[in-house]
């Protein structure tokens, strides 16, 4: 294994070092801006900068570390060298993933530290991704997506494109669809048209109306024309309005859940990549050794 770590470092030291420099500069800026700003109603530009960094990091690592990993060996035909020694392709991949994965997780820590505008009052659903743990999950997933695509298509540019597509698709599905439902939502009811009392800092998942039996009802089409449709809704059988939400004290737990979800995805993708290498290049030379 030490030999493989040497090889990984020798082959990828420039991309590792340059990524590290960019990440450290980007996160220094994040933290600086974070401390310099006071939270207000509007999100300042620095907040968007933070979102950009925290959205892009995992995908970029997937594209630039993961996607070329196997594909470039095929393009330059060096897989003949890499897998022609006493090291099997699976062990070779394990060595690479171990070192790259470790460095990626270490770099995820500063990326997850600052949100660019909220100072120390970091506890908010708006900055869900400002968490070293969540960022570690994302970067492992990005790397795994890159490695799998790389093993499947064996062409660096195609593999980079597919990695980006897979990363964006899964991140969107998870953040728009799945994340709000890691635990069942809580519900607050109020009379139709009355002001409702919500705990502070909640993430609103859904709002709507209930009929007299407590069933969710759609907005009656006749009512959509009104500026204040409450009376119309009442006459059409609406008894209560409801708000489904996730309370703010669930935020840390959800971040842990997000980390485990993405780490599980990553494990699945790495497993598929290992299967791909194993099926394509068995028997390697040591497997074919005949017992005396």
């Amino acid at each position: 294994m030490r030999g493989l770590l040497w090889l990984t470092w020798r082959q990828h030291r420039w991309v590792l070092c340059s990524t590290a420099v960019v990440v450290l500069l980007a996160s220094w800026l994040l933290i600086e801006l974070d401390l310099a700003n006071t939270p207000g109603d509007a999100v300042p530009l620095s907040g968007f900068y933070a979102q950009l960094v925290q959205t892009a990091f995992g995908g970029l690592v997937g594209m630039f570390w993961g996607a070329p990993l196997v594909a470039r060996e095929f393009e330059e035909r060096t897989y003949l060298v890499a897998w022609g020694q006493d090291v099997s392709p699976e062990r070779w991949l394990a060595g690479k993933v171990a070192l790259l994965g470790l460095v990626a997780v270490l770099l995820a820590v500063p990326i997850g530290l600052g949100d660019g505008y909220r100072g120390h009052q970091d506890v908010s659903w708006d900055v869900f991704e400002v968490s070293p743990l969540v960022q570690a999950g994302y970067v492992l997933f990005g790397l795994a997506a890159g490695v799998l695509m790389s093993a499947l298509v064996r062409h660096t540019l195609t593999s980079m494109g597919l990695t980006l597509a897979l990363y964006v698709a899964v991140r969107m599905v998870m953040s728009l669809g799945a994340r709000d439902h890691y635990l069942p939502t809580e519900r607050v009811l109020s009379e139709v048209g009355e002001a409702r009392q919500l705990p502070e800092g909640v993430q609103i998942v859904e709002t709507g109306y209930l009929d007299g039996d407590g069933h969710v009802m759609g907005m009656p089409s006749e009512c959509t024309a009104f500026v204040n449709p409450q009376n119309c809704i009442r006459t059409h059988g609406g008894a209560h309005s409801f708000v489904d939400f996730q309370p703010i004290d669930r935020l840390p737990g959800f971040q842990v859940a997000e980390f485990f979800a993405f780490t599980a995805f990553a494990a699945g993708l790495f497993f598929l990549a290992f299967l791909r290498l194993r099926r394509g290049w068995r028997p390697s030379r040591s497997h074919r050794r005949i017992a005396a």
Partner: protein
């Protein structure tokens, strides 16, 4: 047994069977596209056969025709790579090869000549002390002047270690004095397989007046006719002398290979 191949088919290759004893030196010849690289890749374990069995005993090292190397690695890096990825490593032997052929140790291999890169590939392969060494067109990148020296050095190494060596080539004139066994492929079929001495002993060339049939026993491999004379290269278990005005001549390995290749065209 060093290498055992039975009924193997893959892509162009059809139903190839042969055995190579350990410590033997085998030349694999054939026209471009005959299946030499496919066969070597099967022996190296880089491909798996569609049918049949391939067995190579012990550790196999394969040097591909284009001598792939990491472009940013220097020769020193390439040797460290070999040391880090092999259970057995002979640094002295690998460094010895590089210094013998004057390969710069500190320059990235992307900036070296094709011949120098070939030497790095050989050094890595030899340093890993393989039991079976497979070389695909090993001399193709090399200067004609050093080909003989490289061949002699390779043969010296494998003879010392008892390594089974298989080397492919389409340059037939490089063969003499190198291999003790011959495998001849044409369009995926193994036409000739055996020890060079046996093959030379079982082929003979008859030269005489223009004729449609060979004057002696044996299967005609190749017949050539000019206005004045006919020449038949025949394969026969025991060459016999032929009556005047015919003359029988022994064939050289080059003649034998060329005749088989020409017929297979």
């Amino acid at each position: 047994m060093g290498i055992h191949v039975e009924g193997v088919s893959k892509w162009v290759l059809r139903d190839c069977s042969f055995e190579l004893p350990s410590g033997s030196v085998t030349a694999l010849v054939g026209a471009n596209g005959a299946g030499k690289t496919t066969l070597l890749s099967l022996l190296a374990g880089l491909l798996s056969a569609d049918s049949g069995q391939v067995r190579a005993d012990g550790r196999v090292a394969f040097v591909a025709q284009d001598k792939p190397l990491y472009k940013h690695f220097t020769a020193t890096d390439a040797l460290s790579f070999g040391k880090h990825t092999n259970k057995v490593w002979d640094q002295e032997r690998a460094v010895g090869w590089l210094s013998r052929f004057g390969v710069p140790l500190k320059r990235a291999s992307g900036r070296l000549s094709g011949g120098q890169r070939a030497h790095i590939s050989f050094a890595v392969a030899l340093g890993s002390r393989p039991d079976v060494l497979l070389l695909d067109e090993p001399l193709s990148e090399l200067d004609p002047l050093v080909r003989k020296e490289v061949t002699a050095a390779l043969l010296g190494f494998v003879a010392d270690e008892g390594t089974t060596l298989v080397l492919s080539t389409h340059v037939v004139s490089e063969l003499s004095g190198v291999a003790d066994r011959l495998l001849l492929l044409a369009q995926g079929e193994l036409l000739v397989s055996g020890e060079v001495d046996d093959l030379l002993g079982s082929h003979v060339s008859y030269v005489g007046p223009v004729s449609t049939a060979a004057p002696g026993p044996g299967d005609v491999v190749l017949a050539r006719h000019t206005a004045a004379q006919s020449q038949f290269l025949v394969r026969t278990p025991s060459p016999v002398s032929v009556a005047e005005p015919w003359v029988s001549r022994p064939v050289s390995l080059e003649d034998l290979v060329l005749a088989h290749l020409e017929v297979a065209e």
